[in-house]
Symmetry: C2
Subunit: 198 residues, 2 copies
């Protein structure tokens, strides 16, 4: 019975169509615009049909997340294979990670729990500027006068902020890093950057 296979193929197609429609909507309108009815519209079915292919909306997001990891893995593998020196390979892998994040922004967002909506008006409100200004000024104070330019302070400021915020985010989205490890990474990073600017 080849018709069994044909039908299975059609079903597989619909499943992919759901995923494709989803990512398309997200790319066009953002994650919060993604709805079951909109997906259904795009694949020319009604919403309940989707539940024949995915348990619920979360299952769709999970599958997209998984596909994101597959794609990221392939890109990093390819980047690695362009070099032979391990240090160069490692750097290339991180650059591939970086490039993936912006090339597949929406996938990265769902993979690592990055919200975009928030705090667009940060610069308009002085309260929100206070903490970063405090840090910025203190960094400027530490950097010796001959090296002290706005660009250099910016660089150090973002170096600090990236590693601290990154470590916090990682801890909040996945739980399994030890207290001791956090302490070490944080301490290393802070003293490392402070030393680099003296």
């Amino acid at each position: 019975m080849a018709s069994k296979e044909r039908i299975q193929r059609l079903k597989d197609d619909t499943r992919s169509n759901i995923l494709e429609a989803s990512i398309k909507i997200v790319k066009e309108e953002g994650w919060q615009a993604l709805s079951m009815r909109k997906i259904a519209d795009k694949i020319e079915y009604t919403a309940p049909i989707i539940y024949e292919y995915f348990a619920n909306k979360d299952a769709i997001l999970n599958e997209l997340t998984r596909q994101g990891y597959v794609q990221l893995g392939e890109l990093m593998e390819a980047a690695k294979n362009k070099y032979t020196d391990p240090a160069e390979q490692l750097e290339a892998m991180w650059l591939a990670y970086w490039n993936f994040a912006f090339a597949e922004k929406e996938l990265y967002q769902v993979m690592y729990g990055v919200e975009v909506n928030c705090c667009a008006f940060e610069n308009s409100c002085p309260d929100m500027k206070a903490p970063s200004n405090m840090i910025w000024d203190k960094i400027a104070e530490i950097i010796p006068e001959e090296k002290r330019t706005d660009e250099y302070v910016d660089r150090k400021y973002y170096s600090f902020w990236s590693v601290v915020h990154g470590l916090i985010s990682i801890n909040m989205t996945r739980k399994f890093t030890s207290e001791e490890l956090n302490r070490q990474v944080l301490k290393d990073a802070i003293s490392g950057i402070i030393n680099s600017m003296k």
Copy 2:
């Protein structure tokens, strides 16, 4: 007319109650459980009343965000004032930032767009482990044998990942960092960490 003031005081109270109820709900049930009707329930009013005090739900989140920044600023200021050496002050400020993030987890989430829901099952799916394993193995390869322990590799792995993910997140949630600055911070961090482990 002292009654005018009394009424104004009552109104101010209701406004604070809305904010307090909101953060309470979020702490108990997470951000996605926060709804206008639930807030109204908690302050013993009906939902439309909230619109007398806030333009919409986003305005509530924005105000909570602002309050979060105020609190963070105060904590960082206090931390700074415990020291006189600028480097110690800077370190204390970042530690205050770190501590705030976990003490006021929910505020930090809305301030910096960190989602929690996602990818709880990351370790269950091998596809999702692949990229991090690749990096981990390559780091281990670079670290000289006499220093190479799992803990040390972990430390370097999280140092890398934190700074890269942190910089990506910052770029995604606020737009105003220059391409050149990103490149510099990224390059500095990667080469810095690679050098630190050789």
